[in-house]
Amino acid sequence: MAGEAQNWLSRMTEAAGKQSFHGAFVYERTGSFTTHEIWRQVGDDVTTERLVQTDGEYQEWLRRNGKLICATTGGPVIASQEASQTINRPELLEEWYELQVLGATRVASRPVTVVAVKPRDAHRYAYEFYLDSDTGLLLKSLMVNERQALLERFQFATFELNPTLADAMAPGKGCLEVTDTEAEAMVADSQWQPAWLPPGFTEGRQAQLLNEGDGQIISQVYTDGLARFTLFIEPLSEEHQAEDLRAQLGPTVAVSRKLNLTEGLFLATVVGEIPPATAERIVGSLLPEQGAQTP
């Protein structure tokens, strides 16, 4: 059964790069429910993807081959390197999650196969993926915590394969051209690496140094192949003061800790879709005294 589930996850990743589609989906998390429309056109050389939020404030993104072309938020964005977040190797997931095909149902009028992904420890959440039985495309996904509370829902309401996309791919006039700010790649510095990481989490890509106003922020992505968190570290100063903090936004937790180092005062923040206690422990292991003790 696990092998079958792995196959489905492989199909899901492959299908994402192959299929053109158009659909409308809902996204729900604690305190927020939004509706969206998506068009994806996969050509020989170019994959274009357009997303529009269809309720509330108008929001739009247009990406070509993964590069953000325009967005309603405009402004500079961090040139996104390919994050190794996709489930490229589901057989590796098996070590941290139990994979199981639960059965079949329907989403957006299409038959889907349901794959349950259950964590083997307390450092990650559970997922349910509803994959189009025909193509393997993800039509619905749920994230569930250890108390069986739903953290997040993504679900197509309408879905159309290989639609006529000609006009739909043109950005709206509210979609502002985006300028890239190149983030500097950073040489690994063990000082900024947590002494403790949840098992299975590795650096998703090279650490980045972002220029932010007058200061610089180090950011490092970690992933277990499915869940993902980002560690941000930046210096504190007279003008930039902060206290230890913990915030939860739907599935995403943010935990800040002040680091009192010989070089000065820094703020370390873990942001990610991981259980709060795990985030606490990661950021806590950056504290000098904690780091020394942690095996």
Partner: protein, 200 residues
Amino acid sequence: MRSESLQESLSAVMDGEAGDLELRRVLQATEQEPAVRDTWERYQIARAAMHKEPWQGKVDLSAGIAAALANEPTPTASSQPSALWQNMGKLAVAASVTLAVLVGVKMVNQENVPGEPAIVAERPAQEAAPAPSTPAAAPAVRQSGSAVLAGFPATSDATAPSDWHEKRISNYLRQHAEQGTQAAAPSPVPYARAASLDDK
């Protein structure tokens, strides 16, 4: 029971906000009044349609509650649930209220929970959160612990983070979400997460 207040009770039950007494009233009413039963059934169908997903288990809500209540002494208006249960409820409510507040990314820091961060950091992982394989009911006691650990003190002396920090957290959330978007990702969830940061 007046029909308006019964309607309110019904809604409360459906939202999971009803007390035991209220719940019992509704269940009794559904047995005695066909109109109430119809409403109850419609709610149930709507609810089932919304939540017919494996993660939620396959418990018939009405039957489950009725059975559970049948084994309990009839509560009177003055009777109180156990202290533990009461506290857990409050913690649960406090947590969800905080989540709602966070929509506007208004945050409460935890400097008023002395020692908590250290405890969390040193706690073995298995204790910090209930094992995912345990049934939903089992982690209840630990849950109360983790709700405290969640660092959302319900006390009024909790201070808000600095404006700068609050902006930073919003920024981090956005960057984290946007870094998850990529070429032909299997799911547009990170986009939706980023979009929902601006949901008002």
